[in-house]
């Protein structure tokens, strides 16, 4: 059994990246399943939490040092992405967490399903599929879980807008609704 | 007078019940009609003061046979509806013939032999006497019947066990 840390993972699979800010390992899209199996074999027996994070396309201002040695501010467009985050623990060694992420684009988002490795991903990956629209390859039973089957769209995406207020009912203040629509009141 | 009225009411119920049991498309309705027939029959027995027979009629025919029939019907798929069962008139000739034969060869002689001018005497066959009869002159018959039933029971158990065993075998293989 290798040492339970992200270093051993990075050593074993050099194509995985270490994201210092998030404290997470970003798995390569191709062999996430293989890495997961290796992780399970090396002692990360318990996958606690699975979730998605949606990042819209945005502009990032970065200070870089150019060739001339001057710092200048460059505006760069960061493409939108969806991260599927897994929090791993070891029950046998009582250590953790190891955060691993699968990164995918927003359009036609797909990721490797880790359900065959950890059963606990089953319902949570279904939830990520339901709310974020990430397709999990190899998931045994990928259906909507919280929304009804006929529901369109993925409500946890940040650019999701409600098609209509199907739960609308008259409130004593019609104005409050107007306010809401103007965006003054945050709901 | 009261007795006669009761007899006719019960008789009509019995015949109607029997007819419904035969003619009804809905099987469950048929079974319940059959039970009404049994109940009316039990009433007729009571009218003849044969209360033990009436009790046994209810106990065995309604309580056991009827329930068994219901169970059997629950196991079949189509219970109600138009395609529940087909009542065809095919072979009805033989049916009528059999009914007529029973009437002519069994009932008519019995009716002719009986003295109809007299109403039934209230004989009181006590259960004790019945038991003594059963245990004394007819004990062999009773035992044979009991043996037969036990054998049937054991056979049924064996049959169902055989099925189970077969399943286990396939599981092992």
């Amino acid at each position: 059994m290798s040492e339970l840390s992200h270093e051993s993972l990075l050593k074993e699979f050099p194509e995985a990246q270490w994201d210092e800010a998030a404290g997470a390992v970003i798995l390569p899209a191709t062999n996430a399943r293989t890495i997961a199996e290796w992780l399970l074999a090396s002692g990360w027996d318990y996958c606690s939490n699975v979730t998605g994070v949606d990042y819209l396309e945005r502009e990032v201002k970065e200070k870089i040092t150019n060739d001339a040695g001057e710092t200048e501010t460059v505006t760069r467009t960061e493409p939108g992405r969806i991260d599927v985050v897994y929090h791993l623990y070891s029950i046998a060694n009582k250590t953790g967490p190891l955060v691993i992420k699968q990164r995918t684009g927003r359009e036609g988002a797909t990721a490797e399903s880790l359900t065959p490795v950890w059963r606990s991903c089953d319902l949570q990956e279904r939830e990520v599929y339901d709310l974020f629209g990430v397709n999990f390859k190899g998931h045994p039973d990928q259906r909507r879980i919280l929304m009804w089957d006929e529901f369109e769209g993925h409500p946890m995406r940040r650019d999701y807008t409600e098609p209509f207020d199907y739960e609308w009912e008259p409130t004593p203040h019609a104005e409050i609704l107007e306010k809401h629509q103007r965006g003054k009141v945050i709901i | 007078m009261t007795q006669e009225i009761t007899f006719w009411v019960l008789a009509v119920i019995a015949v109607l019940g029997a007819l419904v049991a035969v003619r009804r498309r809905n099987l469950i309705h048929g079974v319940f009609a059959l039970m009404i027939f049994f109940a009316a029959l039990a009433g007729l027995f009571l009218l003849l003061m044969a209360e033990f027979i009436a009790a046994v009629q209810i106990l065995v025919y309604i309580g056991a046979v009827g329930i068994l029939l219901l169970f059997a019907i629950m196991l079949t798929e189509r219970v109600t509806g138009d395609d529940a069962r087909d009542i065809t008139s095919r072979g009805s000739f033989w049916g009528w013939a059999a009914a007529l034969a029973v009437l002519v060869f069994l009932l008519l002689p019995a009716i002719q032999g009986a003295d109809l001018s007299q109403t039934a005497q209230p004989i009181n066959p006590s259960v004790k006497a019945l038991g003594h009869q059963m245990m004394d002159p007819y004990v062999v018959t009773l035992e044979v019947l009991a043996l037969l039933l036990t054998a049937a029971l054991i056979g049924a158990v064996a049959a169902s066990q055989g099925g189970e065993k077969k399943k286990e075998d396939t599981d092992d293989a």
């Binding site: 009912e169 004593p172 203040h173 409050i176 809401h180 | -």
Partner: protein, 231 residues
């Protein structure tokens, strides 16, 4: 080797004990007799509920001094709108998680009894059918103007209008607050006094500082002038 059915008999002994005990020990009972008054007619809206302060706490078995139910607006006594603490800053409206508060700020400022002109809420409505009694509005209020009431008998037959509590029904005096939540009210008053003192101290300090600064400046100016003159 346990007795046949021993566990069942043990359980039956427990239930028998409870059966008998419920007649002799009041603390065994789960339920309390609610003060049911069939002659009471259900008010058509919340505003019609009795406003006498004693009435609010008539059922002390379910409501105690710690309960919170829906918010109310505080005033310091006297004419409510004269001493209302709320200045319609709308922080609570913004922070309210279920968005049940609706405030309209007044167009003009009024003179309060403490001779300070302030805005006041022209409208202050709480839709208690939406409110979830979370007390966030109380925490974010910088003026200690909104606190939680413990009145709970609020049912009405009207679903939408009936559960809207208007400003005038929300206004309650600080004395009432002391009555229903004595400990909390006392703490809040202490805090307010302390805050006020701190604020005044700060103001004073600021004023002194400003004065000192002005003095220093004046001094410097004088010195400069003197220097100038000296030259």
């Amino acid at each position: 080797m346990s007795i046949l059915g021993g566990g069942i008999f043990k359980g039956m002994a427990v239930t028998l004990r409870n059966f008998v005990g419920s007649y002799f020990y009041k603390e065994r009972l789960i339920t309390n007799d609610y003060d049911w008054r069939p002659e009471d007619k259900l008010p058509q809206s919340i505003g019609e509920y009795p406003k006498e302060e004693g009435e609010q706490l008539r059922d002390t078995t379910t409501v105690n001094h710690y309960s919170r139910n829906f918010p109310m607006l505080l005033h310091d006594g006297g004419e409510p709108m004269d001493t209302v603490r709320c200045v319609a800053c709308q922080i609570c409206e913004r922070e309210c998680p279920p968005q049940c508060i609706y405030i309209e700020k007044s167009e003009d400022k009024t003179e309060r009894s403490d001779n300070k002109a302030q805005f006041y809420p022209a409208k202050f409505d709480i839709d208690v059918s939406v409110c979830m009694s979370c007390q966030i509005c109380v925490e974010v209020c910088p003026f200690d103007a909104i606190v939680m009431n413990s009145q709970f008998e609020l049912s009405t037959p009207d679903r939408f209008g009936g559960l809207l509590v208007r400003r005038d029904d929300l206004l309650k005096s600080n004395d009432y607050y002391h009555k229903i939540h004595p400990q909390e009210a006392a703490t809040r008053d202490q805090k307010m006094v302390a805050d006020k003192a701190a604020k005044e101290a700060k103001k004073k300090a600021a004023a002194e500082k400003a004065k000192a600064a002005a003095e220093v400046k004046a001094k410097a100016a004088a010195e400069a002038k003197a220097k100038e003159e000296g030259e």
